[in-house]
């Protein structure tokens, strides 16, 4: 199946535009594509006529020229007819927004449309979904644009069974400054399912990290998913919720009761190097981190701080996560010390965490980061930056970003207060260093890379 017309349409039809209800999903979708996106869009309603000042087509078959994407937003019982119209007319693919299928006892109707599409090799997303959000290009969400927090184009592909989780996660991603390559709510996933999306995003050059919100897989579908994920080089992050119906089945053995559905899910993901996020906060931190550093580390962290308290807190969090904060060799300490300015050489603590004290300046950070970048005992650097003292300039982020470029070691920074220190934070982020607004978040960003290692 060719997904290109679905995800990169040049032309679209919105089926089900209402003449009486301006808040009808089809109208919201038609209006936003028509007014805001570089996609030619046609309204469709069997009554024909005019909508605003545009011609309404009675059927997709009447539209002159090729239609890449059809958005179907009609009553469930009318969907098969609309779908048949699309298939007959050579449409490239569809998003079926309509509800009223398997989720409300009409599994038969859902099977019918899936069967039609399979037979015609016709890709569709849904039903019962928000569909596709492609930043700056188009979206099929029946939510007015001004109500959405709209992430910038970026390199995270996000696929969610739930539309609500998807829209809400777009808020978290945006707060983190994280951009999306593509976001898809797959709803009842009657045809296109997680594994299909994984295969698509693995080949998508704009996507570097692939994230999922999964409620459950079908029979043996989890096996196919993890086997595919293990074979692709991009990090895959999964947030899991819910349990399968089988979870409530009476169990007759120790193994069945010890290896419950979620336990199996979690262990099997780790076995295949898939990064499981346990909540939305982890999901956001993991995607941010892996979008900069899409690879695995062992998790030996060099911590640099200007506050002993922050160093201790970060060390505790790292220990809880199972990350190591190893002691530094004398050679590394000597190298750091040699690079420090005279006024802090005597007061800085060069154990790990390396505490440069509140008297440090940009050059001291550079010395410490540079030496740790070469230290064999650490494979990742965690910088706790409190930009309250005058020795720290707004150029620091850009100046420190060479660590990864030179040594290959990922650097993650914690900087408080996103608004006040925006220029400093952008100095890091624009130079490929992820920044967290909490110590926990920074530690999770390190943890993300460790969880990439198959366990």
């Amino acid at each position: 199946m060719d997904f290109t017309p679905l995800f990169k349409p040049k032309t679209a039809a919105v089926i089900g535009v209402s003449f009486t209800n301006e808040r009808h999903p089809a109208n919201v979708i038609y209006n936003k594509i028509h007014l805001r996106y570089p996609v030619k869009v046609y309204p469709v309603n069997p009554r024909g006529g005019m909508f605003n000042r545009d011609r309404v087509y009675r059927a997709v078959a009447e539209i002159p020229g090729r239609v890449d994407l059809a958005v179907i937003a009609v009553r469930a019982d009318l969907v098969p007819e609309a779908l048949a119209d699309c298939i007959r007319s050579g449409v490239g693919g569809a998003v079926i927004v309509s509800g009223g299928f398997a989720e409300s006892g009409r599994g038969d109707l859902q099977e019918r449309i899936a069967g039609m599409a399979r037979e015609a090799d016709f890709p569709f997303i849904g039903p019962n979904c928000l569909g596709i959000y492609s930043p700056g290009k188009f979206d099929t969400f029946f939510l007015p644009g001004e109500r959405l927090v709209r992430p910038n184009p970026g390199n995270v592909g996000f696929v969610s069974q739930s539309g609500g989780v998807l829209v809400d996660q777009m808020v978290k991603f945006t707060e983190q400054g994280l951009g999306l390559s593509l976001a898809v709510s797959i709803g009842n996933k009657a045809l296109i399912r997680e594994t299909d999306m994984l295969r698509h995003l693995a080949d998508d050059p704009e996507t570097k990290v692939i994230a999922f919100y999964v409620e459950g897989f079908g029979r043996n579908e989890g096996r196919a998913f993890v086997e595919l994920a293990a074979g692709i080089s991009k990090p895959v992050v999964v947030l899991k919720a819910g349990k399968t119906a089988e979870g409530s089945r009476a169990v007759s053995s120790h193994t069945a009761s010890l290896a419950g559905d979620y336990k199996v899910f979690s262990d099997v993901l780790a076995q295949h190097g898939i990064v499981e996020a346990r909540n939305e906060f982890e999901l956001t931190c993991f995607c941010e981190s892996l979008s900069h550093y899409p690879r695995a580390i062992e998790g030996n962290v060099g911590v640099i701080t200007v506050s002993g308290g922050h160093g201790a807190l970060a060390t505790d969090i790292c220990a809880d996560l199972g990350l190591q904060v190893p002691r530094l060799s004398e050679a590394v300490k000597t190298e750091i010390r040699a690079g420090l300015s005279a006024n802090i050489r005597g007061i800085a603590s060069l154990e790990n965490p390396v505490d440069l004290t509140g008297s440090s300046t940009d050059a001291d950070f550079e010395a410490a980061i540079s030496a740790l970048g070469r230290a064999p005992e650490v494979d990742c650097l965690l910088l706790l930056l409190l930009p309250y003292s005058p020795g720290i300039s707004s150029d620091l982020g850009a100046r420190l970003s060479y660590v990864h470029q030179q040594s290959g070691k990922p650097l993650v920074a914690y900087v408080p207060h996103v608004e006040k220190y925006r220029i400093l934070i952008e100095g890091f982020e624009l130079n490929n260093v992820p920044v967290a607004s909490s110590i926990d978040g920074a530690a999770f960003m390190v943890e993300a890379m460790r969880r990439c290692r198959p366990c």
């Binding site: 043996n220 007759s252 120790h254 193994t255 069945a256 290896a259 099997v268 295949h272 198959p454």
Partner: protein, 227 residues
């Protein structure tokens, strides 16, 4: 390919839906999973002969299609020192429902582990390894992996257990034989893959691991409902 012996054992167990212990042990032995020296005795004389061959002390366990959980009916007697004690245990077991003889087996020692398999709805055959003993469900210290296992998977399962040091050596306790454990896990994984949808789940509980060997002391194979 499953051997004819294994196919026959599964076919014979269809009626009650699970494989009786002596048959389960025979199945595992055929698959290259280490089991103790044992015999299925259906008379007291046979039991005494088996015990003499194995050497005292022995363990005796009731065999009955009506008793899946033997310890619930006091159907397991470890540490039987002599023929006289064995006779009285045989007599006691013979009064249990569905009595169909006893398993007489050598006594094993070492760390107790639980090893299991189930056919997971989402992931198919999965294998479990955990710290065993009577409190197995209290501590729930287990690791699960999708089958077929690789040696690397067994290694990571051991690392992931909270009680991993119980197996790799802790204070006065010697490390268990990790290569033997790995060998056993891989052989078990292979037969689970072969059995596939024929089974619902398998418990090997306990498995005794010592510095010398890893041996399945008891096995329960629950078959999938026939559809």
């Amino acid at each position: 390919m499953l051997s004819a012996e294994i196919v026959d054992i599964i076919a014979a167990a269809r009626d009650h839906g699970w494989v009786l212990e002596p048959e389960a042990l025979r199945l595992l032995r055929a698959a290259g999973v280490p089991v103790p020296r044992f015999a299925w005795a259906t008379s007291e004389t046979q039991a005494r002969e088996a015990a003499a061959g194995i050497g005292y002390p022995v363990v005796a366990k009731v065999v009955s299609p009506k008793v899946m959980h033997k310890s619930d009916v006091q159907g397991v007697q470890p540490g039987i020192p002599d023929a006289e004690s064995l006779a009285s245990v045989y007599d006691r077991f013979s009064r249990l429902p569905g009595f169909d003889g006893v398993v007489v087996a050598e006594m094993l020692s070492g760390r107790e582990l639980i090893v299991g398999a189930k056919i997971d709805f989402q992931f198919g055959p999965v294998i479990l390894l955990g710290i065993g003993g009577t409190a197995v469900e209290i501590y729930n210290d287990t690791a699960t992996r999708m089958a077929p296992l690789k040696a690397r998977d067994v290694e990571s399962m051991l690392t992931c257990l909270r009680g991993s040091r119980l197996l790799t050596g802790y204070r006065g306790f010697a490390a268990v034989n990790i290569p033997k454990l790995t060998e056993m896990m891989l052989a078990f994984s292979d037969v689970v893959m072969e059995l596939g949808d024929r089974i619902d789940s398998i418990d090997l509980n306990p498995v005794f691991c010592s510095p010398e060997r890893c041996t399945v002391a008891d096995a329960r194979i629950v078959l999938a409902p026939q559809g």
